[in-house]
Assembly symmetry: C2
Homo-oligomer: 315 residues x 2
């Protein structure tokens, strides 16, 4: 299979938003991110006098995001236009886009399949959680660290995204007993797997995309867990049960659609975790939560991204 | 020993700030907090039709904070004046003080020693951490939850304060390998104990107060840990070593004093956790961090309180 590679050079401020957009909206098969700051940080880990940044081949000016599309279905001109429009929209939010350039290239799938693996490594997320690519041999510093095995090429949620990480942290806080968990927009299944490893009694992961449902099932099979179900569903519309914990890592506008249906799907003393919220969109999410009788227990922010731990207001 | 009990009735918004003030600045021996919302929440855990709030004796209107002082040393009039001034100051920050009333009462120490215990219970803080009063028999839902044993009457840091909890969460995130940890203003020693239980290689806890140093040592002795030292020190002034992780849960003005000395006490790739910051004071902390070449990796907020996970800026 041939692939179309679309390379966007721009400011690192666009990384999360643009990755999200290209994977979720434009159906990219996979995304590579090369950031100047990663090379700088990597250099600092060694004796810095030995690492000359100028010697690195094609060192990115700031951020280089390369998205891979199925060549047969991809409309090159339209993709470039949509990405250009998205960047203009993000600029409208007040983000610094940097000097933007977009280029395209035709590549053989084989190249990509091996090439992108080198950009995914173990994410030593926290004291008790690490995300480990399927092919990596990893020896945790603490033997009781829980490992989430993932084929990060499969769907959104490689563990590297800030929005995913904010949910992981909030789950470590909230999951103090065996709870039932609903993961809306499960993507790669990473959050469903994490919930199970943390001790959820059972987990349902849902996604509107067939590809995500398949990917989540494949990732779940890589992990030693047996209490996760995955099925196709559009937010809470086809869900009948109630849960102790509902997590949703999707964009703010979709969270807004979800909020009115939360109460009827949440057990007594249930909690909700939201992520995927740009800080500029926080006020409207806060307003909708308050109007629906929810309150924010804890707010987490990394860069522009906000995650929320939410509960019903006390009467 | 006789005690002077000073009871402040006011809005729950003052709870953390006023507790901090009375314990740290006015040297209260202990503080009891009774909040209407706690009784409401407790009622909801049972069949709510059976719990009638009106039946509860002396149900607080909103918040009742009772601080206990050594009767011999306490100047009743001056204490009331200082608390009144503090509340006026907090009102100036924009807090809702509610209807404030302050009353004093003389009590026998024996009454208090038994009375306050009923206000401290297990804090099921997170999936992997719980704070357990010395006298409680606790069976965690997850057998690998790490327990911090505490005599919460001893010094500041009972585990119930938001500011303490934000540090606990940030430590769960940051302590991904055996690190050396410095806990500045250790109080009860709770954060030093947590760091050790999470797998720190060694921990130094410091406090400017002799009472806190004694209390921390007593609490450490309740826990099965052997790599914590505690000593009296004024912030970083008497500290020579460098650490992988520095935590400081103290008020914003004291954090500002600390910031210029951080760099020289932090190992390469070291991290810093700050808590005790009222959100109105965040801008000046952010400014001082930026001026000293630090950046905020993650911001956590609960109510008015902010906690920060901090690292050096990449070059």
């Amino acid at each position: 299979m041939k692939l179309l590679a679309v390379k966007v050079e721009c400011s690192h401020e666009l990384e999360d938003g643009l990755s999200f957009f290209m994977q979720d909206e434009l159906d990219a098969q996979g995304i590579e991110s090369r950031k100047r700051s990663d090379f700088v940080a990597e250099g600092q880990k060694h004796d810095s006098s030995l690492v000359e940044l100028d010697d690195i081949e094609n060192l990115p000016k700031d951020l280089e995001l390369t998205a891979y599309f199925n060549y047969e279905n991809a409309d090159k001109k339209e993709l470039v236009k949509k990405i250009t429009d998205k960047i203009a929209e993000m600029k409208g939010y007040g983000l610094n886009t940097g000097e933007v350039s977009i280029s395209t290239k035709e590549v053989a799938d084989e190249d990509w399949n091996t090439a992108w693996q080198k950009y995914y490594h173990v994410i030593d997320f926290s004291r008790h959680l690490a995300i480990v690519p399927e092919w990596e041999d990893y020896h945790p510093a603490f033997s009781d660290q829980k490992l989430i095995r993932l084929d990060p090429g499969l769907a959104f949620g490689t563990g590297g995204h800030t929005t995913t990480q904010l949910v992981l942290l909030a789950m470590e806080r909230a999951l103090v007993k065996p709870m039932s968990v609903l993961d809306i927009g499960t993507g790669s299944g990473i959050l469903a797997i994490a919930a199970s490893k943390l001790g959820a009694s059972h987990v349902l992961g849902t996604d509107i995309s067939d590809e995500a449902v398949t990917a989540a099932k494949e990732n779940i099979a890589l992990n030693d867990v047996n209490n996760i179900n995955v099925r196709k569903a559009n937010l809470l519309k086809d869900i009948d049960d109630k849960y102790d914990l509902i997590v949703a890592n999707i964009l703010a506008d979709i969270l807004l659609e979800l909020i009115p249906d939360l109460d009827s799907h949440l057990n007594k003393e249930g909690k909700v975790i939201f992520s995927g919220i740009d800080y500029l969109q926080l006020p409207k999410v806060e307003k909708a939560l308050a109007e629906n009788n929810f309150e924010i227990k804890m707010k987490m922010q990394e860069g522009r991204w906000i995650g929320l731990l939410i509960a019903r207001k006390p009467d």
